[in-house]
Point group: C2
Chain length 190, copies 2
Amino acid sequence: MRADAQRSYDRILAVAGDVFVEQGTNASMNEIAKRAGVGAGTLYRHFPDREHLLDVLLKDWVAQIQAAVDQTLAAGLPPRELLITWFEAVVRHISVHRGGAARLTAALGNTASMVDKWQGLATANQSVLRHLEARGAIRGGADTIQICRLVGGVAAVADAGGLLRDDTRDLLALIADGLLVAPAAALRCP
Amino acid sequence: MRADAQRSYDRILAVAGDVFVEQGTNASMNEIAKRAGVGAGTLYRHFPDREHLLDVLLKDWVAQIQAAVDQTLAAGLPPRELLITWFEAVVRHISVHRGGAARLTAALGNTASMVDKWQGLATANQSVLRHLEARGAIRGGADTIQICRLVGGVAAVADAGGLLRDDTRDLLALIADGLLVAPAAALRCP
DNA sequence: CGACGATACGGAGAGGGTTTCCGATTTTGC
DNA sequence: GCAAAATCGGAAACCCTCTCCGTATCGTCG
């Protein structure tokens, strides 16, 4: 790629990230082009449409998820808190811009093109699950992708409905309780 | 309302239902007006914007939910199957048109305008929960609205991601397991 | 029945968004 | 430095939402 083209590409990406965070995934492409100081033609040559642009951005963001896993595991929390904390981290990560969670979640499991996009999310989630399995804290039979979908669903709802942090946490707790070896019931047998 | 106005109103509503089912909730308003045989002005006088039109349509659909409850309860299923069947009914109902599930779920709990729209859903869900509570099959602490949100999230994901029926069922089963009193755990009590 | 005010209609058009196209401009290799 | 190739910018074609207003229809009252 020619040097000036690379500059345009990078600047568009940086600006698009900002604009999508500010205005959601339906922000005007013209606005992005203008703020990046390029013409519309330039924007569209690099990214044929909005989806391509979002693809690249989401890929970057999801890549950061592995860092969140390590951090979560290192905290040494008990199973239920660990799971909830991890889910909260996922929601936070994939909700970077309004509409992003819904788009990403919709793509989960699409064998089509964006395999690599959610792959990072899936393997990160997998490692948390394995950590809990090793401690016998988790019920069998739940597929990683399915769990990602559920958490993604919560993220999408939280995002679209403007849910408060506590409400979101409650939803994630419900999911966690479904996965764990019934902790609530255990409490009831002293 | 004048007789001709009523005719227009009804025809727009009928056509909009069809178009939204065919093309999703982002279908062109012009298209709806054209198919209904009215001008754009007429459409917008009756329904100031797309949301109003969707509101009226969704309200109708949600109203049918109570019927689904009665039917589900009457089937006399064991708790887990009852819950899953009910959740499936909800998903089916609120996914009538593409994008509908996401919109409805986003509105859940919005004290703003569409209270009456999700009210039906919430009370229907409540009656299923009470039925299960009465049998001691359910864990306490889960709010009806929260559960509706979770199920709505699944519906939105299933809708947007084109999930298969079995995948959707798995997700709903996970939620159900989080709500039910887990019999397995009881075994581990000393 | 006929006519008049109220009500409703339709479609042109303003405003804004996406995407394409191509002449002008910049970069690069030689 | 020069020409070819790559890239740029923004005008313009196209579609969408929503508004405005002259025209047509309805309902009622004399």
